[in-house]
Symmetry: C2
Subunit: 199 residues, 2 copies
């Protein structure tokens, strides 16, 4: 398959790219600040330009989402808006604009995360964004069939424990390679409206 | 208790107001377009003005949320933004601004809805908003203790079946009086971070 991968240069995106390439797929690697396809999907106009540039694809996979971390009382309305634009609207626009552009039985695979079910302090904007995307995935799935849409919702990565482990005391981490296989499952499988929880 | 109720003139708000008043509470009824306290909480500045006007309260209850309904492919980015402002940011701001203003052991009770778990066609913005608020509630709960926060997540109201029943084929409705009791449970009980699902 020809697969458009957003956030391809990130820690997760790199693992997903490797897993999809190993399965023989052609990966079109897009990102905000590196690679050939430099587009920031927080801006709906750039999402449109990206789709125009790559032409028809069989699947769209997102490994990109940017949210601020602060205690609720230190947040400003603008911080929640930034989380909405950076992880929710950005991924919704991939779907909304993509429905008319991807293959008739193509798929969308979005990224969320464990914080919407098991929050940590300072994670209210991240949790909000993840919960929004997961509910959107369930709702969009019943409208866009036979196109499919799923979300990948991992806990902290084993490879990120040195940096983030202190925020997840006692929480079993997940290997990036295992998260990447959830993308393979979503893209090559037949499920839709599913949240693949890796935690 | 002295309870600030947002959306007090709506179908749900009216039932909540009656239930809380019957329990002996003093209800301060706020709304966008009726009553003495006319404030639109979709605007964070009006939320601030509302809190300034009412002074200290023991609990804040929301029965207000405005979202657009359209198929995914007919939505515009602005429709999802409107849902975010009208149901997500509006209720988050009630909490964020309220933490420093309500009683030390006071509570927030927000409104979500069944569509984030059991969507219907055209409900992707509503689902997104409900999922966002429910995840926010779980995340905020672990930060604001001993203050508490819960969400009420009802299915279609028995009293709304004539208008909306066709969108919920085979779905058992819930009586408004029963939904109102979930507000009582949230406000007078000791739970926090709970989503009371009435469906």
């Amino acid at each position: 398959m020809k697969i458009l991968l957003i956030g391809a240069a990130g820690k997760l995106g790199t693992a997903v790219n490797a897993a999809l390439t190993a399965r023989g797929h052609e990966v079109l690697a897009a990102g905000r600040s590196s690679g050939d396809l430099r587009y920031d999907i927080a801006d709906p106009a750039q999402t449109s330009a990206l789709y125009d540039r790559v032409g028809p694809v069989d699947a769209v996979a997102s490994a990109a989402g940017d949210v601020p971390y602060k205690p609720v009382v230190d947040m400003a309305p603008e911080n929640y808006e930034a989380a909405f634009r950076g992880k929710v609207l950005s991924q919704i626009e991939l779907v909304r604009q993509g429905v008319s552009r991807i293959a008739e039985r193509g798929s969308f695979t979005l990224i969320t995360g464990v914080l919407c079910r098991d929050p940590i302090p300072t994670s209210s904007a991240a949790a909000m964004a993840n919960g929004a995307v997961e509910a959107f995935v369930r709702a969009a799935a019943i409208e866009i069939a036979p196109q499919r849409i799923n979300a990948i919702s991992p806990t902290v990565f084993t490879e990120s424990l040195a940096k983030y482990g202190d925020f997840f005391p006692g929480v079993p981490p997940v290997d990036l390679a295992q998260v990447a296989q959830a993308y393979v499952r979503s893209i090559e499988g037949a499920h839709t409206g599913r949240i693949y929880e890796l935690s």
